[in-house]
Symmetry: D2
Subunit: 426 residues, 4 copies
Amino acid sequence: MVLTKSQKVMEVFENHESQVRSYSRSFPTVFERAKGYKMWDTEGKEYIDFFAGAGALNYGHNNDKMKEKLIEYIQDDGIAHSLDMGTTVRKEFLERFNEVILKPRNMDYKVMFPGPTGTNTVESALKIARKVTGRQNIISFTNGFHGMTLGALSVTGNSYNRGGAGVPLNNTTSMPFDTFLEEGQSLNFLKKYLADASSGLDLPAAMILETVQGEGGINPASFEWLREIERLCRNYDILLIVDDVQAGCGRTGTFFSFEPAGVKPDIVCLSKSIGGYGLPLALTLIKPQYDMFGPAEHNGTFRGNNLAILAATEALSYWETDEFAKSVQEKSKLITKRMETIVEEYPQLKATTRGRGFMQGIVCGEGKEDYADKICAKAFEKGLIIETSGPEGEVVKFLGSLIIDEKGIQQGFDILEEAIEDVVKN
Amino acid sequence: MVLTKSQKVMEVFENHESQVRSYSRSFPTVFERAKGYKMWDTEGKEYIDFFAGAGALNYGHNNDKMKEKLIEYIQDDGIAHSLDMGTTVRKEFLERFNEVILKPRNMDYKVMFPGPTGTNTVESALKIARKVTGRQNIISFTNGFHGMTLGALSVTGNSYNRGGAGVPLNNTTSMPFDTFLEEGQSLNFLKKYLADASSGLDLPAAMILETVQGEGGINPASFEWLREIERLCRNYDILLIVDDVQAGCGRTGTFFSFEPAGVKPDIVCLSKSIGGYGLPLALTLIKPQYDMFGPAEHNGTFRGNNLAILAATEALSYWETDEFAKSVQEKSKLITKRMETIVEEYPQLKATTRGRGFMQGIVCGEGKEDYADKICAKAFEKGLIIETSGPEGEVVKFLGSLIIDEKGIQQGFDILEEAIEDVVKN
Amino acid sequence: MVLTKSQKVMEVFENHESQVRSYSRSFPTVFERAKGYKMWDTEGKEYIDFFAGAGALNYGHNNDKMKEKLIEYIQDDGIAHSLDMGTTVRKEFLERFNEVILKPRNMDYKVMFPGPTGTNTVESALKIARKVTGRQNIISFTNGFHGMTLGALSVTGNSYNRGGAGVPLNNTTSMPFDTFLEEGQSLNFLKKYLADASSGLDLPAAMILETVQGEGGINPASFEWLREIERLCRNYDILLIVDDVQAGCGRTGTFFSFEPAGVKPDIVCLSKSIGGYGLPLALTLIKPQYDMFGPAEHNGTFRGNNLAILAATEALSYWETDEFAKSVQEKSKLITKRMETIVEEYPQLKATTRGRGFMQGIVCGEGKEDYADKICAKAFEKGLIIETSGPEGEVVKFLGSLIIDEKGIQQGFDILEEAIEDVVKN
Amino acid sequence: MVLTKSQKVMEVFENHESQVRSYSRSFPTVFERAKGYKMWDTEGKEYIDFFAGAGALNYGHNNDKMKEKLIEYIQDDGIAHSLDMGTTVRKEFLERFNEVILKPRNMDYKVMFPGPTGTNTVESALKIARKVTGRQNIISFTNGFHGMTLGALSVTGNSYNRGGAGVPLNNTTSMPFDTFLEEGQSLNFLKKYLADASSGLDLPAAMILETVQGEGGINPASFEWLREIERLCRNYDILLIVDDVQAGCGRTGTFFSFEPAGVKPDIVCLSKSIGGYGLPLALTLIKPQYDMFGPAEHNGTFRGNNLAILAATEALSYWETDEFAKSVQEKSKLITKRMETIVEEYPQLKATTRGRGFMQGIVCGEGKEDYADKICAKAFEKGLIIETSGPEGEVVKFLGSLIIDEKGIQQGFDILEEAIEDVVKN
């Protein structure tokens, strides 16, 4: 058998990279170039991208405005790496973020630059919540996903990932997420645990949640549930941390995913698309009264990734008016519609849909969980990059870039339908 | 008082950034441009850089060759963000790293790309060590520094940082580093703990160490100690993890800091300068027989920071011959000489020197610990960026770029001497 | 004011005993003598005992047959203290226990003598469950109470007691007890947590439960729930530990509290009344296939409390026929009747009743929780020893000796009614 | 082969008791009667007891005065079990303990009755230390032994016992005991860890130690070391806990083992011989200023073991004058002499001696560790009960009753020498 160029190259990963590699297994080709919502591999094959770097590329690949800024900055020998020293780039970002994002939303937060990864913002959020309250327990939620370092992993539900820790993951309590139990039960349950002095629940420093669980299976919390959670937090002096790493930066149709619910988290975790261009960056937003960190109490070498911060600053332009948000909301309807049609047309999947905005999924029903994997594999062959999520990998997850146009959405879903057709037939 | 431009800008950080900020306090200006071993602030003031991004800029700021590659790549819409999908950039790095670094040193490691920070490679190293051995304890060493996320923090000695966790840091035992006790005692102590079945030491999965402790005060382990540690690890089936995040990538005069000692760690942690250009990147090198991770068992969004990997590939060119290493070793002697002269000329500091290669420090003696801080502050005023380290901040630490020339070293030390002169006089 | 003899003596406790003392606060007198279901203080005042040493005196105070055996044994210089050396007393107990208790019930267990306290049998049970399964997590239940040493405390729900640990209580998950949520919900909830691979529940080594929760408020699990829990344990290879320290030894009307439910725990914890005479003793029963302890892996100085074991052997005589059990069951009905009458006659308490056998409680309703305390205090004044339990101390708990006769029950309840009458009037 | 009566009986233990049993393995017979320093098995064979219930029988077996009191009390239906209610027995003990023990030694402690086991007093001590200081870490020492429940086990050094926990034992740091390293090094080491802010040692709530380590191998701390430890505790506001469970109650020649060193622990743990007659009892002595427990914050069913407290009160008579202490000290010299003679006469053992008072050991030297076991087994055959201790079981440990007379000591040692002779010959 003659290996294609891509297949030969894949051997390099098999030979030299750790077994831990994953996406090069799901998407077995070698990518070379990308633009907007498209990617091309070394053999020139084009792919529609319904994955967007796991939500890190909300503004698409290689956005032209950011690209221009980056090139100019590098050309001029702008500071690339600065830790948290003062730089013009960091200064401008702080001002713009305040001007464009916080002020118009009546929000007042101090901005922390932790190490430039999602797991790092989560770790810093847990630290400050514990310091502020003097408590040690944290409430997380079933199917929550917050990162792979020990603190973030301890609030993550996935048992495969948890098992990787090699030590018990402690000082956390996993409570049922809104969608985990039938209507209202999750909340009642949590209330009862908090109210009963012998429930075994140690009063927590914070609750940490995603408003729409990404890795956990595209589970959207209802706004009412979010408000009730906030109320509970206020009643018991518990801090509310929203991990908006995946659902934030416009993915659900507003900059912060929690805006339409009207809640005001005490701490917000941002990463993934906050960097604009897919470059590593993370922010922790802390209500000023809780900003009780000492200098360098949580630090890190790559806090000052100025290229990312530069792109991030440019990315904020999308949020100067509400036009962009509206377009995302509009396009979301098309996504919903295409998904619902699939569910109807392929009763074999026993599927349902769920999600919000650009974070929606087709959930393959009981006994059909493994269809999701097959569908995504087949879709990849046909030129669509799309991934599964959920505890059993049972959800086909749309996570495309916010800049994708109607045509792109239609094309992607056409491929997806073809893939489903193929899978269902066999 | 009229505020300078820089001073006005500093207010932005005070108003919008978390209290956790630190370097903008030590170096109170706003930097704009950098090249090689120099930085300039918004007012055009020039600084000699003896700090090099805390060791993340071994090849200097904005290295021309890497810069060129970056611009070209961005221009061509190369993949910026890829998670761990196959990309040409990742493929080329893996090949080059094997060709230029591993093979010539007779090393065989699988390469893991964890999240692009030092703390993340450490977390992944601890995980795999625990998985491979089925044990939970890890031996770390006094004054070790490995990162700020919960797992890495648990092997870090600094009590200020540890306190930030807000929960007990467990499943680790802090043993005395080579230099912590008088000659030979540290090793004897560790041997006794391992040999005595009632010592209270739980047999560890791994020992993790820096060969030259950076944040801990530029403490260099002797090669004999390193070899003895390796021997102990072999005898008790304990994995040896060398955290070469700061001491690696040539900083001590060889690519890996442990080369001259002749030890072969089971796991090596790399970050900081591995990215070449100061862009976030980290690697975990794992002996093939211990590469027992499952796919995605440890993952992360920014594993595929292709710009960093591209620069990292270019940076490997420095290691194609031994010329670069030799020049570093040569220049190290000058650094040592200048430091020793200072120690002699300023007996008021009761100082000594220590370190290896481009990682050397002037240790202010008992009762004079606070001189270090004053000296660095004064040096900054005079145009030199240099930082302290050590448990009491008692060490003036040289951590300049490896590409600095003799002139730069001399200039920097001249400024340093002036600063000392000033401080000592008052 | 002239102090009574008892009041003067109480000062000794205030002056010399730690603040931790509690029952000398609830029952402020000095007791001198006791027999059957009665106690007398130093002033000769007689008390009906509805408390029975918190369930440690199921056979009443100073049972004559055991008393005779004890005196004879002490007289003959029988071994008092033996650790776990072979003694005739230990040998006879093991044989009798097997003959009278295990065999007729078709049970096969190895008997372990841990330290002679309830908390110690629980600690040993958790250890062996973790050793057998290689897992670390334990599922406990809301309102469960298992002891005060660190391991037992970690499976105890009471937040006041948990807070006393001064360290996080980890490696346990508190799931809802049968009665914690409305019908069926507790079980569904647990099933869902076990079934969902991302629920955040780490697969446990064991579940530990009381069939009727004593300190937690006299909450009886339904037999169906117990059977479903057993089924879940079997399905997931989880060990089932029944802590029968308080509910065992006949308290609910059968020797083991779980007999009528038809479940077969893998491990059973016994203490309190197993010693017969109120002397310290505890047993851990382990299914032979799980008896994987190494010699002395869990040990303790007072495992061989031969006086207690001697009395325990004699106590087994009560179980040679089913007459005793039947009489307990018969008398339980009277207790239920008297309680129900109280609930009806004092609607002001908004009370309900619950429990099984000689473990029943009057639960003061919402907003009336503090009545329970007042009622018990008033009852004490009137010559009845009775205690509260439950997370808010809202339950008036009957825990009298199994040997109490109808007259004693009536007398006690007459006093209780008088006390309620007094309390309700004010 | 015809089984003896004892051998037949041993089968009962094999058939019905858990594998965890240990002393019935070392001393394979069935004991029936005991008096003073002698025991008899079911076949009438007499044994000299150099073991004294692992130090729980300092006043010998079945002491006549206590025996008389016990019989009388039981006869009169005195309260046997009382939890911590007021009883005349508890009152009298508190007064006598204060009068006879505390006052004459100028000591002021509140007395806590935890559950009646050594491990329980240790657990309560750790709790109160953590509560008082608000810190979580505890310093324990190499080869320390404090009990088998999770908290006590976490400060115990023995790896076999630690392994039994099945979970990591955390929130403790094991520091070198006085005798663990060569002269002075242990102390210097600990000082350095406390002084260095980056040593990785979390400032502890308390240090817990035995002045002579029992299970750890009869290691006596020097008085100077104890004083230095106390000084360190004072300097860092660390509480000093002396676990005098085995070394207390006269075993080293004074009531408290720490008296001759002149230290004043903040918390003292007593158990074993405090009960006088070998009945389960434990006390925690707490300096009044640290008695910050809330009512019932640490409780337990068998705190009020009145038979034990009655005997304990009688046992205090031994301490009314210093005659008893002096006799113990006198007899200790004979023990030392006999041990030293053995060491000289049997150079094959490469043995040394160590210990204090009635807690002395013959330490079989390197490569000869297994002799200890063989010697004790042979001695048992010849009618002497004596046990090994130490991390490798290398110490033949004398732990006889304090009431043994010279003749008994000589007889016992004669048997021991015979046993050694036999072992050495083969």
